[in-house]
């Protein structure tokens, strides 16, 4: 099994399996949630639940000033690495090609150097966030094995991707293969961990906003 064959397998069958598990898992989890349903509200509405739901999906991204003062680190670091992940994953030219081959459409990319710099910032932020999770009393109290596992499968693609891009080390095919494998690990774990929040957060924010909107409260 030469490096090329390994890379071929990783870019081919392994990626297919990972995509199947990811897609199937995500759709399944979402339906599992939706099918539980919700009782209709018989009370006389004051505001619109739908408008409230949509509004909260947007406004909840902007933390209220008091909250920002109290959780500044979590908010700033959180946004930093989420934006970093977004840029690195979705605005990097080679990645866009991967998405295009699966989704059929593509979009413009950022210059490679900018994505590279963003990746560095994201890696550092993720490390800082890990340290914070381990030493902040509340975070340490709340965190279990899954939290650290999810951190790892989010961190590895960034590091292996950076190494593969800069070809630190002898065999570039192996480096790219390891990078893609780490992404596949992320995709396989995705539907069974809190990574699902990437999808379910819209549902949660919707329900939150709808419940409050019905009562005329902007939540």
């Amino acid at each position: 099994m030469t490096d090329t064959e390994f890379l071929l397998w990783v870019r081919g069958p392994a990626f297919e399996i990972a995509t199947i598990i990811f897609t199937l898992g995500v759709v399944l989890r979402i339906l599992e949630i939706v099918f539980l349903g919700r009782k209709a509200n018989l009370a006389e509405a004051r505001g619109s639940a739908t408008a409230g739901g949509i509004r909260t999906i947007i406004t909840r991204s902007v933390p209220e000033s008091g909250t920002f003062k109290r959780s500044t680190f979590v908010i700033v670091a959180g946004y930093l690495f989420h934006i970093g992940l977004f840029v690195t994953i979705f605005l990097f030219a080679p990645h866009i090609l991967t998405f295009e081959s699966v989704l059929g459409f593509s979009w413009p990319a950022l210059p490679t150097a900018i994505v590279d710099a963003t990746a560095v910032v994201t890696v550092i932020t993720l490390l800082v966030v890990l340290i914070h999770r381990m030493q902040d009393p509340v975070m340490r109290f709340l965190s279990g094995f899954q939290d650290y596992l999810v951190w790892l499968v989010t961190f590895l693609p960034l590091v292996t991707g950076y190494i593969a891009f800069h070809r630190v080390g002898p065999a570039p095919q192996m480096l790219i293969a390891i990078h893609i494998l780490s992404v596949e690990a992320l995709m396989v774990l995705f539907p069974f961990t809190k990574l699902m929040h990437a999808f379910t957060l819209f549902m949660s924010r919707w329900y939150n906003g709808a419940i409050s909107g019905y009562r005329g409260v902007n939540s």
Binding site: T67, R140, L201, R205, V217
Partner: protein
């Protein structure tokens, strides 16, 4: 009538878990931000008071019963089931250190409505016999006597006579066809009867026809605090029956937080049908009168005042702007606290905590949050619209040696009615 059992509790949780709960548990990323919104954590620093952690047993039920991976784990015996001992440990988290004030639900970055879930989890806790003794007593009194504080009709009659002597205005009782049927909380009847005088003077001034009902004068509902929908439904049904018997157009929930939540928002869902009458908080009625110009006031309160938003009225109830309009009418120097309106900090006593003596020390420790909020603006008076908040604000201020009068907004308005 087999008494509370773990199975009944777990069964209740299985019933309560719905799509929002599943979405919320799927979205939590353990970021800890909800702890910074909860006064029981900020003032104690104990991680166990992190709001989302208070739901751990229910999360396990959701995971093991309603997700593929969870069910597999359970089948293979890998998952740890919820035990009675575990629920005992969780009693102080779900009841003593949570007033269901909803501040964590406003803060969660992924939008989890943690309060919505606490309300549901209490259904399981109560059914498995893990409700706090104080709250069980209050609920039993509310059902048997009609009021959690044991107030019976004769006690109300005595206060009514006293008010009528003082205001010279008759207090209508059981008047069929009146426009509004007013409810009172036991706290008001026992500790703040001036509220009855206030509404009778205001309604006379504004020419509003109203009545009390001898069969259903109690507004509070321990059922939604302890988390037993059947009991809550029974308490609400009394009000519905009386209101429909008196053929009133609307029922007014008094200066009380969770009473408004119980009748206005949970009521129809508890009894299972929309009401034939409207439900309004007293502040909504007063603001309507103000708007219609039927509320003429003279003179304003000179001292520097602020307004404390009762959580169930404002953040969870939606009555936010009305008190501001009324405060502008009646206060010369009204100043807002930091984190006001839907982001106000709880007085620490709602959601059944006040009936739970075991939680007293924790409640008073948590009150430091309200102290810091007030210290920031140095006011001479604190106005609110919930008698339970009011009594426990007074209790807290006394504990922290703060000399600050706590006023009722309705009473303050009544004191400034212009003679017509």
């Amino acid at each position: 009538m087999t008494g509370a059992t773990l199975e009944r509790g777990i069964n209740a949780l299985k019933e309560q878990i719905d799509a929002p709960v599943a979405a919320f548990f799927s979205s939590c990323v353990h970021c800890g931000m909800c702890s910074e919104a909860c006064l029981f954590f900020t003032e104690t620093g104990e991680p166990k008071y992190t709001p989302i952690h208070k739901l751990e047993p229910m999360r396990k039920i959701w995971y093991q019963e309603y997700t593929l991976w969870g069910r597999l784990g359970k089948m293979l015996g890998l998952s740890k089931p919820v035990t009675d001992a575990e629920l005992t440990d969780w009693e102080t988290l779900v009841y003593d250190s949570c007033t269901m004030c909803g501040r964590c639900s406003m803060v969660c970055p992924v939008g989890n409505d943690i309060t919505y879930m606490i309300r549901k989890m209490r259904e399981g806790m109560a059914a498995s016999g893990h409700a706090p003794p104080g709250l069980i007593g209050a609920t039993q009194r509310a059902v048997t006597i009609g009021s959690p504080m044991g107030v019976k009709l004769p006690a109300l009659q005595a206060q009514i006579n006293h008010v009528e002597k003082e205001t010279g205005i008759p207090v209508p009782v059981d008047v069929e066809g009146a426009e509004y049927m007013c409810l009172l909380s036991s706290m008001e009847i026992m500790n703040f009867p001036e509220y009855i005088g206030a509404i009778s003077r205001i309604f006379k001034h504004a020419g509003v026809s109203w009545t009390l009902s001898s069969e259903a004068f109690e507004a509070t509902n321990s059922g939604i605090q302890i988390g037993v929908s059947e009991i809550a439904a029974e308490l609400v049904q009394r009000i519905v029956t009386a209101a429909e018997k008196l053929k009133v157009k609307a029922v007014i929930s008094p200066e009380c937080g969770h009473a408004y939540m119980a009748i206005r928002w949970e009521g129809p869902n508890l009894v299972g049908r929309p009401f034939s009458f409207k439900v309004l908080h007293i502040l909504e009625v007063l603001d309507d009168l103000r708007e219609q110009g039927r509320l003429k006031l003279s003179g304003k309160e000179a001292q520097r005042l602020t307004y404390h938003d009762p959580c169930q009225v404002s953040r969870r109830g939606g009555v936010v702007q009305q008190p501001r309009n009324l405060m502008d009418m009646v206060a010369e120097n009204f100043v807002e606290m930091p984190d006001n309106g839907t982001m106000n900090w709880c007085c620490g006593a709602g959601g059944g905590v006040s009936s739970n003596e075991r939680a007293d020390d924790l409640r008073l420790k948590a009150f430091n949050r309200k102290k810091e909020q007030l210290d920031a603006i140095q006011v001479e008076g604190l106005v609110s619209a919930c008698s339970n908040c009011r009594i426990h604000l007074e209790d807290g201020l006394e504990e922290y040696h703060m000399d600050l009068p706590v006023l009722s907004l309705t009473e303050t308005i009544a004191e400034h009615l212009a003679e017509n």
